[in-house]
């Protein structure tokens, strides 16, 4: 028995026909219409859901951006009341070597600025104003070392100076370490300051 021949015979047989009722095509049309409406409703629901999700996500992003913390303000600077107040104007810079080295003119450093010839050293810290500078008049140097802090500065100030005759009115709390910061050749002549205070009237005259 040849399968191909049998297949051709059976597949052409009339018994393969399935009777169809009259008007079945309109049932198909109605079913297709229902399916089309269902697909449209699903598509509309999906679009609405996407719109809601997108709007919610955008609002969340905006809120997150507006909730960024404000930058912290710098902590207030506390002045040490134990030291004599510095004059508001620029201060003198006595010889940091502990005695007036000859030929080192006093340097007058305006407030808020460094001396013109002051090229020594380390960059000045600008984050916080040093309370010591404003409170101590006869400081040998306004420029601080970067590592110095307020408590450490107080310790240095209490230590007696190393034989330095910086200025007649310089208080005992002058800082010998700071005196070493400026080299004699870098000090500029200082303009006398007329302000009150212990260290205001001093002048380190050259040679003397």
């Amino acid at each position: 028995m040849d399968p191909e021949h049998e297949l051709q015979r059976v597949l052409r047989d009339e018994r393969l026909d399935v009777p169809v009722r009259t008007g079945a095509e309109w049932s198909m049309v109605a079913a297709a219409r229902r399916r089309r409406h269902r697909n449209a409703a699903l598509a509309a629901g999906a679009v609405a859901l996407l719109a809601v999700l997108g709007t919610g996500g955008g609002i969340a992003v905006v809120q997150m951006g507006s909730e960024e913390p404000a930058p912290r303000p710098s902590p207030p600077v506390i002045q040490n009341p134990t030291h004599a107040p510095n004059p508001p104007h620029g201060t003198q810079r006595p010889d940091p070597q502990g005695g007036q080295s000859p030929g080192t003119p006093p340097q007058w450093i305006p407030p808020g600025g460094t001396g013109g010839g002051d090229r020594t050293e380390q960059p000045r810290r600008t984050e916080e104003p040093d309370p010591r500078r404003t409170s101590e008049s006869p400081e040998p140097s306004i420029l601080r070392r970067p590592v110095e802090t307020a408590p450490s500065e107080s310790e240095q100030e209490t230590a007696p100076p190393d034989g330095d005759a910086t200025a007649p009115n310089s208080p005992s709390d002058s800082e010998p370490e700071k005196q070493q910061e400026t080299s004699p050749q870098e000090t500029a002549p200082q303009a006398p300051s007329g302000g009150s205070g212990s260290g205001t009237g001093q002048q380190n005259t050259p040679g003397g």
């Binding site: 597949l11 399935v18 095509e25 309109w26 198909m28 297709a32």
Partner: protein, 191 residues
Amino acid sequence: MTAHSPAVPAAETPGMRLGNARRGDMAATEDDFAEFVRVALPGLMRYGHALTGNPHDAADLVQTVLEKVGARWSRIDDNCQDPTAYVRKAMANAHISRWRRTRKETLLAEFPDVPSVPQQDRLENEPIWEALRELPPRQRAVVVLRYYEGLSETEIADTLGVSCGTVKSQASKAMSALRKRLDSQAEGGDA
């Protein structure tokens, strides 16, 4: 008794005109689809019967596919040169997919389905028909498309979305299974 005066027809706005045009297009599309179904339905039912081996499964398959095709009829009619071939292609693929889906189902029990009116399967006595029903759906689709539709191997591959090599291998397996089944039935009949 109140007299209902006829409402004055409102002037047509552009939106109303567009809606009416769309409804008109939709009605024309549905009429076109109904005409297509009326002409092609007997052939599709016969084809479905050959594909599934069961007239009830054939009706279910044809209705499912025509429902999907009708929802997109305007696009199919514009793009396809032969919508009947497109529908037959869809029926073959739907039959294979359905068979894969139902194969995973586990039958817990077989219901003794006794029909009220005994209806004899008209092709039940044909051994080739029984052998054809036992083939896997893809092999049966290849055989039906080849011997019922008269398609070539390339056309069958395009219809089923497979390669020509797959069509050849499936056809070879189907024919060897049919031959083996027919031989066994002939030997059993002879014995």
